[in-house]
């Protein structure tokens, strides 16, 4: 095992870089981070559209949400890989392709979390904001979203964790992320598949567990600041149950 780690750890961390494209763990982290950063605002917009009072906005977004939710991520990756270039005429590299697939897929799921979070805020809060003369946008920004985001935090972290794991699907379109590199190492070493994949799993675990801990710290800091804790909505309960399962 020591030999394995000693011989291949650089390759596992950054792929062929700087003599070739960036790969390995660095690429996985980069992909996941970019995916999260881009998917969150996208999901926020989708969620707001889903609860907007305007039908022309609500319906098409709802349709997209149902379509993507009813599709495995692998299919979305294939769409982005085969379908998108044939429509747009632009051939994107594997990294961009995977990023697009992740942002679309996560955006929709985050959108659903945002929608549930908004709908979990008591109706009276929106009415009180509107009764004071705040418009829909201001009521959302100043009154509803600050409360919704707080109750959404556990579900958001859940989704972020699954994004990290989902980057491994890049393997299927030849993206040299950590799983791909690990497979290459395995075929070169050949005799230690258990060890190779155990180390790969451990790496994913550390990433995901670390993220969960950070989220927990944020939650605790909020509690210390004396902010009122939101009532647990049914949505966050099921999310917690799923995380425990």
């Amino acid at each position: 095992m020591i030999d394995l780690v000693r011989d291949y750890w650089v390759y596992f961390l950054i792929g062929q870089y700087p003599n070739g494209p960036l790969g390995g763990l660095a690429l996985t982290v980069l992909l996941a981070s970019l995916g999260l950063v881009l998917a969150l605002p996208f999901g926020l917009l989708l969620g707001l559209a889903r609860v907007s009072p305007w039908r022309w906005l609500r319906w098409p977004v709802t349709l997209v949400a149902f379509a993507v939710r009813g599709t495995p991520l692998l299919m979305v990756v294939f769409w982005a890989y085969f379908f998108l270039p044939s429509v747009t005429g632009v051939k994107t590299d594997q990294f961009s392709t995977m990023l697009i697939a992740l942002v679309i897929f996560d955006g929709v799921y985050l959108g659903e979390i945002v929608r549930a979070g908004i709908q979990g805020v008591p109706r009276g809060q929106y009415e009180a904001a509107r009764a004071l003369g705040l418009g829909h946008g201001r009521a959302m920004r100043r009154v509803i979203l600050p409360q919704a985001l707080r109750s959404m935090l556990p579900s958001l972290v859940n989704q972020f964790v699954s994004t990290i794991k989902a980057t491994s699907l890049g393997y299927i379109i030849g993206l040299t992320e950590a799983s791909f590199i690990a497979t290459q190492i395995n075929s070169q070493v050949f005799v230690h598949p258990t060890m190779v994949y155990l180390l790969l799993s451990l790496m994913y675990f550390i990433l995901c567990f670390g993220l969960s801990r950070v989220a927990l710290m944020i939650e605790r800091r909020q509690a210390r600041r004396g902010l009122p804790r939101p009532a647990r909505s049914p949505g966050s309960l099921t999310a917690t149950a799923a995380a425990n399962a």
Binding site: Q125, R130, A131, L132, G133, G226
Partner: protein, 247 residues
Amino acid sequence: MIQFNQVNKWYGEYHALVDIDETIAKGEVVVVCGPSGSGKSTLIRTINRLEAIESGTITFDGEDIHRPGIDLNRLRSRIGFVFQQFNLFPHLTVLQNCTLAPVEVGGARPAQAHDKAMALLERVGLAHKANAWPSELSGGQQQRVAIARALAMEPPLMLFDEPTSALDPEMVGEVLLVMQGLVRDGMTLVVVTHEMGFARDVAHRVLFMDQGRILERAEPHAFFNHPQHPRAQQFLADIRTPFARPA
């Protein structure tokens, strides 16, 4: 100040407001009472368009408020609304609850809104709680903050939707006292309430509603001593002697 003209509202098949005709004058204090489900909450929620109406008109200072294209936010900032469940914003402090609308809607400078809010909190006796969270206050205190929050936009009209119904009995008085102060200042109030004491002592007029209609309109003395409509007589008998009627 407010004029209802042949107002009708349906919830699906249910006829919630039936041919409402009513005029409320500036400076008047009107109590709306009646059994639950009679349409009294719906009635006052149509005045700031929290509820839509299907036919008829409601004018506020001569302006048809259910006309499409009206500046709804400006209208609402001129009508204070106090909810049964307070609906304070739990993520904002007491003070921030009171400065949100003046800054966001009224365009007030933060310092100016702050001073105004402190004066209002002083008035409802809660200046010392300015930096507390709503969750740290009792129900009565929360409702007094909600009144201060509604007053921050300096509305000429205040609507109260059962403001004391969610309170423990010992906290009802402090809220009614604040409302009485508004009456002394000559403000126009429309109050849906079961507090018959408030109706008798403070109101200028009582409207009695049942099944979406205003069945009786009278001065408090006349209403409580000589109710005309049989439903009003029954209602008053029921609340005075709750155990008298055989179950």
